[in-house]
């Protein structure tokens, strides 16, 4: 293995990562100081945390409390490799999912004199660049300092390499997943024929939903503590699973079982090697695999009858709406838009049913219904609005060169945002009625409010989508500048509160919520009327701004 090749390949990946975050591509220059700022920051933070926790431990006056603290720290440290492995697995998989939408893969390694071992090792290590590596540096520096106070320096010296081995294990697993998913998807296309496009849509959706539910379950406050307890407790019971062997080695060392420590350490190293060579073999076999073409239609061509035309859209506007619908159901990176509302429904439902710990009290069902009706549609309008222009990518030249007016562009894009978000809201509303059994008044009020939010926040976000559109597609589609998206999200939050504010007194009195001061009673329909006025003003104002921005956008076409 040529290690220089591995280092060069990793540096290419690091650069591509920085290019994603960068703004200017012309005369791009590396800033080496900022390059390692994340890792330096993690190290300093880790040292500070270690120092703070160590001082806290030293300063404990009660010996019994000190002993409890000591035992808990040891308990946590032995389960750390397994916990880090789980989180690294999720983070590296998340990175891989983001890369699924890359249009053109960099195939340079395939024709350069680079072996599959070098390519796989570089790819595996490159998964770790960024957040996973920063987390390891943070944990390692904190543990090293804290272990001095604890009097467990030998243990810390073993924990740090165990953590590094854990993240490598997670990364190698992700590499295997990456190769297999390419091969699997190809096989599915081949067998599913014309339905491939829908098989891909539903398959991707199911995968992403399952993934996000696991992610939220792992990271939500109570669940993450439960997870640490479970991992620490269950590690011994599932000792035969190779992924916990690193944790087992640490636990054995802690208990003074030296033979067991050596056995689990050697077994862990062997498992890592097996996993790595499995990734190498899979890469060699399927790395160059090209998925077969997806055939969507066959037979005689019949132009669309034009249902959208009957709704008042011109042929140009209807064509753009149809094209956008296909984009959001066929492009994997855009399917996120459907995943978020589904996860937003499933998570509270799982909470409600007690699947994620303590079940929610039945009195909270109006809150659940309000959440289900207001959140998914509004979130979808915000996400669609910010992405709908940038998703054109480098194909935007067609918009610039075709006879599309600012009015038509805004009309069809805004209509698409509203139609799709309203459909999602209606579906969520029906599910909510079946589960939470709200009163007709509440159902009606929330339905109106959710529509108001969609129209207002859709217009606000479309403005951000035009002003902050980012058409860069390699290494992954950016669609919107992060700062614009963040500012828009905050603005939408404020405007959402403004639209819903007239209903707050009604909600407080209806739910008998404890408030510091008496709130005047307000009729529901008067509250809704005020809310309608606020939403209409916001929508009208922002629609006018969007039209002006769209004119500038089409005039200042620079491709």
């Amino acid at each position: 293995m040529n290690w220089k090749n591995v280092v060069r390949l990793i540096s290419v990946d690091m650069k591509s990562g920085r290019l994603i975050r960068g703004q200017k591509f012309r005369r791009y220059r590396e800033r080496r100081v900022f390059q390692y700022l994340l890792y330096g920051g993690a190290c300093v933070l880790g040292l500070a945390i270690g120092l703070a926790v160590g001082n806290l431990y030293i300063g404990l006056p009660d010996p019994e409390l000190k002993s409890l603290f000591y035992q808990s720290a040891r308990y946590l440290l032995t389960s750390l490799p397994t916990l880090i492995l789980l989180y690294s697995l999720v983070i590296t998989m998340m990175g891989q999912i983001q890369r699924m939408g890359v249009r053109s893969s960099i195939q340079l390694p395939y024709w350069l004199p680079i072996t599959w071992e070098e390519h796989t090792l570089a790819s595996t290590l490159a998964h770790l660049i960024g957040l996973p590596l920063a987390s390891i540096i943070l944990f390692s520096s904190a543990i090293s300092v804290f272990s001095i106070f604890l009097g467990e320096l030998p243990f810390a010296t073993l924990t740090v390499p165990a953590l590094l081995a854990s993240v490598f294990l997670a990364s190698a697993t992700t590499e295997i997943f990456r190769v297999l998913q390419v091969r699997l998807i190809g096989a599915i296309y081949k067998t599913s024929g014309r339905t491939a496009v829908w098989v891909r849509f539903l398959g991707s959706l199911l995968f992403l939903i399952a993934f996000y539910i696991i992610w939220f379950s792992l990271t939500s406050g109570a669940s993450s503590i439960a997870l640490i307890e479970t991992v620490a407790g269950a590690q011994n019971a599932v000792w035969f699973i190779p992924y916990v062997w690193l944790g087992m080695a640490l636990a054995s060392f802690m208990s003074g079982l030296l033979v067991q420590t050596v056995v689990f350490s050697v077994a862990s190293i062997l498992f890592i090697l097996v996993l790595f060579y499995a990734a190498v073999r899979l890469n060699a076999k399927f790395g160059l695999y090209e998925p077969p073409a997806i055939t969507v239609s066959r037979g005689v061509y019949v132009p669309k009858a034009g249902f959208l035309g009957k709704l008042g859209f011109s042929s140009l506007e209807a064509a753009v709406i149809r094209k956008d619908f296909k984009a959001f159901t066929r492009r994997r990176e855009l399917m996120y838009i459907f995943v978020m509302p589904i996860v937003f429904i499933l998570m509270p439902l799982m909470q409600y049913s007690g699947m994620l710990g303590k079940p929610v009290a039945p009195e909270a069902s109006p809150f659940l219904y309000a959440w289900m009706l207001l959140a998914p549609g509004a979130l979808m309008a915000i996400m669609l609005g910010t992405m709908i222009i940038g998703e054109e990518g480098s194909s935007v030249w067609l918009f610039y060169s075709s006879p599309i007016t600012a009015h038509s562009l805004v009309k069809c894009k805004y209509a698409f945002i509203c139609i799709l978000s309203c459909i999602v809201t209606l579906v969520c509303g029906v599910i909510g009625i079946l589960i939470a059994h709200p009163s007709p008044h509440l159902a009606f009020a929330l339905l109106i409010e959710s529509m108001l939010l969609i129209f207002a926040l859709g217009a606000v976000s479309l403005r951000a989508g035009i002003k902050g559109a980012d058409f860069v597609e390699v290494p992954r589609p950016r669609m919107i500048r992060p700062l614009t998206a963040l500012v828009n999200f905050l603005l939408c939050g404020i405007l959402m509160l403004a639209i819903l504010s007239p209903l707050i007194p009604y909600a407080v009195t209806m739910m008998n919520l404890p408030v510091p001061m008496p709130i005047p009673k307000i009729d529901l329909y008067i509250a809704i009327s005020i809310s309608v006025v606020i939403a209409v003003v916001i929508t009208f104002l922002f629609y006018r701004i969007v039209l002006k921005n769209a004119e500038e956008f089409l005039l200042k076409a620079e491709i």
Partner: protein, 259 residues
């Protein structure tokens, strides 16, 4: 409204800079109706920028661009309605099938439904895309994507064709179809401005040729006028091009490379 002025395209004192790079340096250019006009030049000479300015895709820093009798700045939408454009490396919607893409473009230009069906079927057959039209564009070869881009430019019967390297990646049959089609369209009054690096094609097809270098127009005219300008009577376009652009010392370059 489209005017019946003498020139289909008229560029006057047009300039464009990108930071400290001069892309186009105050050029004047006239293209007559029904003319096939070739724009030649080495890489980075300003050809693509000039073509983009004709279409309004790049705004000139100074000067005026008049297309089909309309100032491109005053009424860009009307100009675009009558222009067919193929960019240098067309990025198409890869999630659409070839058929869906051309259908989409036809709708963008408001082509009548029955006419659209007829034209799409004819073009798909002519460019040998029948049987693959229902496949997603992501699985197409570069040449097939170029064919789809060309069909999209021809579909709405434009009055002006702006083609940036139109024959890139095309098979010999399709290239011949495009060449014959352009000649036929020229006889019907359709104007074509094309850039190309294939000098034989430019010599054979274009009524007039402009040679650009570092953003400036080095020479403009028909083959005879270019020969006179280069003082190379009886020579072909390659020799003229190499002499005018000062890149004729090929032998020395090759020998240096082989050392």
């Amino acid at each position: 409204m489209i005017s019946t002025s003498e020139y289909a395209v008229k560029l006057e004192k047009v300039a464009k800079r990108y930071a400290d790079i001069v892309a186009v340096d105050y050029i004047d250019l006239d293209v007559k109706y029904g003319e096939i006009f070739g724009l030649l030049g080495p890489n980075g000479s300003g050809k693509s920028t000039t073509l983009k300015m004709v279409l309004g895709l790049v705004k000139p820093d100074s000067g005026s661009v008049n297309v089909l009798g309309i100032n491109a700045d005053d009424d860009p939408v009307t100009v675009k309605r009558h222009v067919g454009y193929v960019p240098e490396s067309p990025r198409l919607y890869e999630f659409l099938t070839g058929l869906e893409y051309v259908d989409f473009v036809a709708d963008i230009y408001s082509v009548d439904a029955s006419e659209k069906k007829m034209r799409i079927e004819e073009y798909l057959e002519a460019f040998d895309l029948e049987g693959r039209e229902g496949d997603m564009i992501s699985s197409y070869s570069q040449g097939m994507k170029q064919k789809i881009a060309l069909i999209s430019a021809f579909l709405h019967k434009p009055k002006l064709l702006v083609l940036d390297e139109p024959l890139t990646g095309l098979d010999p049959k399709s290239a011949r179809i495009v060449k014959d089609l352009l000649r036929k369209l020229a006889s019907q009054g359709v104007t074509t401005i094309m850039s190309t690096h294939i000098l034989e094609i430019a010599q054979a097809m274009c009524d007039r040729i402009a040679i650009m270098y570092e953003g400036r127009l080095l020479a403009l005219g028909n083959m005879e006028e270019l020969r006179q300008k280069a003082r190379l009577p009886g020579s072909d376009l390659e020799e003229i091009f190499l002499k005018l652009t000062g890149t004729e010392a090929i032998r020395e370059v090759v020998e240096a490379l082989l050392k």
